[in-house]
Amino acid sequence: MSKFTRIGLAAVAATMVSGAAMADSAKLGIRSEPSSMDPYFHNLGPNNAMLGQIFGRLVDWGPKMDGLIPRLATSWKAINDTTWEFKLRKGVKFHDGSDFTADDFIFSFKRADGYTGGNSSFRTYTKGKSVKKIDDFTVHIVTEKPYPLMPNDMTSIMVISSDVKGSGGSANMGLKAKDFNNGTATIGTGPYKFVKWRKGDSLVLEKYDGYKGPLAQPWDKMTFKFIKSEPARTAALLAGDVDMIDNVPTSDIGALSKDKRVSLSSGVSNRVIYLHMDQFRDKSPFVTDKSGNPLDKNPLKDARVRKAISMMINRDEIVDKVMEGVAIKAGQLLPEGFFGRSEKMRPQEYDPSGAKKLLAAAGWGDGFGLTIHGPNDRYINDARICEAVAQMLTRNGIPTKVVTMPKNVYFKRASKGGPNKSPEFSFVLVGWGSGTGESSSPLKSLLATHDKSKGMGASNRGRHANPMMDEVLLKALATVDDKERGTLLAKATEIGIGEDQGIIPLHYQVNTWATRPGLKYNARADERTVGLDLVKE
């Protein structure tokens, strides 16, 4: 018996055993519904989480985002500075029985790249890259400049079958979003098959028996129920209507942890909650003197003032009182375990007297007035964090007002509500989840000098700018060697946050899922709720 057949038999035996032992279904009550079953329609958290179970990707993140796992690609490497080679898995079949080859990947890549419509496209991961087929199971992806993040980007591109017939038309390779929504084109290589999507209500997936790959198939059938209202989600779990819920509000965690009908799973996410300060205007609209009159000078341009503000914030208290213990203090862009962190940087300790000295040294010993703006329906307890920060600053000589608003109003104003599409506010609370699983994404978007043509600083709402940091970051972005890149990213973080205090990190969000006893959710760092990660204990 060849080695290959032996492995094959073992896999068959394993499937049979697990199939017999777990012939059952799971119901998951989740907050956010995907907007489409078309994998390139929206680059949106709920879509990516749900569709990754139906469609394969070349590589994917493990639950903790601490390493990449091979899905449709079995191995990958940079063969020179500008070319990445991916070896594809052999013997993989789509849900309709057709074979997966390099052509399917290229078809998918092209559809993602040229997708018209949708308002959050996957071009972010495909632009500047071209794919070449070497043979049926080898592809080369070529870039103009050295591009180390290729495998990370490939965790976002899902593979559809090139044989699927849609409703035609010239756009999007003849496949329309509705072809996916009704199931005709929803044919992937993932561990679960699409069964039915009842919009606003539920989505049903069924185990794909021919699945080949590294992911587990813990359930025969999974039903996702979309329950937006927080108390209703908790009630659905307590009533036994669902086996698991996501996004458990922090205020419920205390009571649920004592409830015997429930077991909680939580894990730190890749999302940092931080404050951005206006560092580009000489007269900042929401910086005033202590009695609320406009100021001629903008104290936030001075790094010492920004550092003093950071020192005035008692992060322990925010974590304990506002987040009810369910968060981790932050000193940089990503929590421990992620790539490209600086080992030197620690969360700023609460130091009111140090803050006072720094403010005095910067010439603002008498303090000034501020307004903090934040969303009230985007991050866990966002409005209450704003209030806490404002109280802490007020107590330490910077009287601060709080204005919070729904996210649909907030983000537009915070990004470009001011004159000439400049950020409208002076002092904002925002969060950032790093999709690439390492620190270059937030460095590039939040701290790099705002420059549209270079695609840098797109979410730099404080317009922090430091050519020295830009230089280190650009070098890191073109360094393929992991170790060297890690050092450079750490250095960029040390300049951007350590020296400049371009942003003030507050904490890393911790997400909580609740299951019925006997089950466990492998809490994912990317905040996704994926049925495969709901397992029996």
Partner: protein, 325 residues
């Protein structure tokens, strides 16, 4: 009658026009979904492409004229979020809401009229007083709170009913309905009761007031003197005469039930169009918001029309021609 109907429809068109302008400009001022939806990783070029793809880079008057031009041809635009015709999205969700609203209305009428009449006929009895106190709770407790309490009681503590969602559905005349199966009814029960509570209280109060008024009328006294049976007096003479205000109010309130079942639908995760509206507002999906409100305006106009016609049937003194619409 025809003139009356035509005049009403023209008025509706004017209302829809003004409403669309108000909503369109309101949502325009707030913003667009791109800032909420776009991935953090996208750079500014991607953002501008997305905005242009939705036609949102154009000035307000051009966007509005484009919308009007299409709307006149019956096309209310494509949803920014789902990229499907907004009208279709709403119509797809409508059966669920209609089912919920009709069921709630039925509960309100079937329970409300007898209870109200009872309270009107025996105003001093303990039962009447409890009914009236109960009706105060019915319209003073907030719907979402009652919904959550019901869920806690019937789903979590007693485990009698499923907490959320819509049950099994089957197709009747191409419409998905859920009252044909036991599972469907079990899912329907709690949201329908929740939605009906307010209307129930209203119907109770109206029937009671009507009964108290009618019962002292000469024709009732006459019927009684003539020896007509008590049952016949109540079921024919009283009931028929209290129906006029009840029908009027129920008619108008039905529009409200459909349009504003939002809270109940959100609490019970009922996949109706109210939930679609609230999600669309959250994501600033302008075409869906405008289309939804247009449908609701037409719905109200039609219900008003039907109520007026019913009115003329119930009360022969009312003539449609004389009503200044």
């Amino acid at each position: 009658m025809t003139v009356f109907i035509i005049r009403r429809l023209m008025q509706a068109a004017v209302v829809v026009f003004f409403m669309s302008f108000l909503v369109f400009s309101g949502v325009f001022v707030i913003g667009d979904p791109v800032d909420i939806l776009i991935s953090d990783e996208a750079d500014e070029e991607d953002r501008e492409r997305a905005i242009a793809a939705l036609g949102l880079d154009k000035p307000f008057h051009i966007q509005y004229l484009r919308f009007l031009g299409k709307a006149l041809q019956g096309d209310l635009g494509e949803s920014f979020i789902f990229e499907e015709p907004a009208l279709l999205l709403i119509l797809e969700r409508m059966p669920a809401t209609m089912e919920l609203a009709l069921f709630a209305l039925l509960l309100a009428v079937v329970l409300g009229i007898p209870l109200g009449m009872w309270a009107g006929l025996k105003p001093d009895s303990v039962a009447a007083k409890s009914i009236m106190t109960g009706s105060i709770l019915g319209f003073s407790l907030p719907t979402f709170w009652v919904g959550i309490m019901m869920m806690m009681l019937f789903a979590v503590m007693l485990g009698w009913l499923p907490s959320t969602g819509r049950g099994e559905t089957s197709e009747i005349f191409g419409l998905e309905v859920s009252f044909t199966s036991w599972d469907g009814i079990r899912h329907l029960l709690m949201p329908a009761i929740n939605l009906s509570l307010f209307k129930l209280a209203l119907v109770i109060r109206l029937s009671r007031a009507g009964t108290k008024e009618v019962i002292h009328q000469d024709y009732i006294k006459f019927a009684r003197a003539k020896g007509v049976s008590r049952n016949r007096i109540i079921l024919v003479h009283v009931l028929k005469n209290i129906m006029i205000p009840v029908v009027t109010v129920i008619g108008l309130e039905f529009g409200g039930l459909v349009a504003f079942s939002i809270v109940t639908e959100t609490v019970f995760a009922w996949p109706g169009m109210g939930k679609l509206l609230i999600d669309s507002i959250g994501l600033l999906d302008r075409p869906v918001i405008v289309a939804y409100l247009t449908i609701i305006v037409f719905l109200f106009v039609i219900i008003n029309l039907v109520v007026d016609i019913l009115y003329s049937i119930l009360d022969p003194r009312v003539r449609l021609q004389e009503m200044k619409a």
